[in-house]
Amino acid sequence: MEPRQLIETLAVAALFAPLFSAACIILATRRVMFKSAGVLATGVMAGGFVCSVVALVTWLGLDDTSPIVTNIGWIPIPGSEAGWLYLGVLIDSLTVAILAMVTGISMLVHLYSIGYMDGDPRYNRFFGYLSLFTFSMLGIVLANSLLMLFVFWELVGLTSYLLIGFWFEKRGPQLACKKAFVMNRIGDMGFLVGFGILFAKLGGNILLPAVHGGMFDAIRAAVEAEGYSMANPPMWLTMAGIGVFFGAIGKSAQFPLHTWLPDAMEGPTPVSSIVHSATMVAAGVYLTARIYPILTPGAHLFIATIGLITLVMAACMALVMTDIKRVLAYSTLSQLGYMVLGLGAGAYSFALFHLITHAFFKCCLFQCSGSVIHAAHHQQDMRYYGGLGRKMPITMICYGICTLAIAGASLPFTSIGISGFYSKDGIIAGTVNYGVAMQSLGSWGNLFWIGPTVVAYITVFYMARSFALTFLGEPRDKHLHEHAHEVPWTMTLPQVCLAIMAVIAATLPFLKLIEVSEPAIGGEAVAWMQPTEALGDAHNPGMHATHAYLLHGLGWIIMLVLGVVMYRPGMKYAEKIAAIPGINLLYHWAHNKFFFDELYDTIAVGVCKLAATIIALIDKYLVDGMVNLAGWVTRQLADAVGLFDQRVVDGAVNGAAAMATSGGQILRSTQTGRVRAYVLFLFASATVVTLVVVTVVLVSP
């Protein structure tokens, strides 16, 4: 088979593999498939992973790296250049890289779930949902047009809702899945607004594949038709970019729609591990990368600002959380902030590379936390942990490696490090250039690189904190510690695989693939992207030399040691610090997640309640008033009719009766009861009759 055709076939096979297993599991009855559901889903997912790895290797051997676009006309749309609503796939080097990452992580999460979900009454359904979730994400990765992407986008929203609310008997998951769904809908509305702007300008051409030669050329033609150029873009293009990015804000849990992600912890831990790495949150970043060529400098600034706010804010919250999963959740927010900031700042390759490296180590971290929670009988508060390393050595080592990875550890004074080091350092380098290039912002532009640099150190600290609190020191809860045990192999194996990936991801050709995809996306057509252009060699690996990794190389070790020393004995130092006046207010503020939930409660929910009250008043007085008026009118009419009935109809009846009565009264006077009177009448009448008869007879001729 021709290599490009082979890649396409394999990608489609990888896409439909999880759908197949989901259909089998969901449609089969409990008796047919319960225990086997986990094995089936994992096996099929492994098949999908093999397909995508073969596709990736085949792609690496290609000479022609132009995107593979397949279009199957589905619904004819007359009057547009596209002519059809296409179904199909779009495969470029970014797609192959993300495809391999998603299928690989999904397979490991499936494997992990076999151990973690063991004994759950809805064991089979969990795997059905998980496979469907993976299918939706793969659909986003492979979608050829913006519309098709949106369809899978919503599928991801739905399946995440099902998974977060998997334990729907409990109050927490119920609220969390609703919150995730609503927050995503808010973001999706922005997506639709952006989509609508593009639709207004492009018409049916929005259905063209999102590549050069497809939708992007149509946008360019629309821009030039209005007398603008891609170097001097019109306002609507900026707004469309920001609008579509709003979808990414929802899915990737960026400020201000970030509040759903920490609450999504209520779902089973395998769900957290896949949501926080390969799917869902990755979808937002991926979408932003897909629409990268149409993002204007204004949109870039917006995206970078959102990313910056998110990464700083989330890191501060991660510092004070005591729930192990919440720390990881806020660290995910922070790392997503890095990616979004990177995309906004033009460090395209490193942002997406960070997406992949982060997926590996964050998935591993969540699986380790899941194992700890599993071993600690669902105690999630790190204050009750301590010393678990001795009981769970494999989990501790995996967690430790991934802590180093997320910290961006490197050998001091060299540029040799673990995967997170390369990706995060590249993003910071990109932001340095962006901050310098954004001269219109003045010295404020420096925030764009100061923020991520400082947060890099904070990241090391809070990860060291969670590691020390969980695995090091003396057991703080004897009972919990005694019952803790290492988890079965189905759970440790994925952890180990992911930890290995977290170390070596940088040596794999992911970065190379993504860099190849960048010209295809950010090539000649987007030469107007002034900040990126000014970056020059932002994505040049040599950029590490410009970054102060000398400081960083020592810095991460200092922060790591500080974190471990401070938290090894538990929370006692932290509590003392948190009690200092001034700091205690900050602590309280961060501990309550900056009061975002309360703010949204007050504003959004408050406004809704106010509106509801007003509507209730309208309902009560206007609508009910009208109903009551109708009732009143009917009643008056009925009264009138009743009166008619009473007076006229009854009157006629009563009148007849009265006439009968009075007639009877008159006639009864003749009924004297006296016999002689009767006889008199008798004879008198007889006489009269006789006289009449005689007279008639006599008179008649």
């Binding site: 006639l667 003749t670 004297t672 009861g673 006296r674 016999v675 002689r676 006889v679 008199l680 004879f683």
Partner: protein
């Protein structure tokens, strides 16, 4: 040949019976005593009986050209009927007396409307 004044014809009979009927009706109307009324009724009945006999003799027999007995038969019926009527009437009067302790018909106005 008899005196014309003694030549009694149908008219004379009718005059007598008319007088009788008038007397009977007057008796019925004026008497308050139930027995008296009964006597009045008997007068009326006998007037009718005389009428039938008279017509039989003067009009019916003459019309047929020979003696006829139809009127006489009816008269016999009337006599029998009067006897039966008297028996029934006297039973009524007896009952009436039992109820009202009187034979005064004016006191019996219970059926007054």
């Amino acid at each position: 040949m008899t005196h014309p004044a003694l030549d009694i014809g149908l008219t004379h009979y009718l005059l007598v019976t008319t007088t009788l009927v008038a007397a009977g009706i007057a008796t019925i109307l004026t008497k308050r005593n139930a027995i008296g009324i009964l006597i009045g009724v008997e007068l009326v009945l006998n007037a009718a009986a005389i009428n039938l006999v008279a017509y039989n003799h003067f009009a019916w027999s003459a019309g047929k050209g020979g003696p006829a007995i139809e009127g006489v038969m009816f008269t016999a019926f009337i006599i029998v009927l009067a006897a039966a009527e008297a028996a029934v009437a006297l039973a009524i009067v007896l009952n009436y007396y039992n109820n009202f302790s009187s034979v005064d018909v004016d006191q019996a106005d219970s059926l007054s409307g």
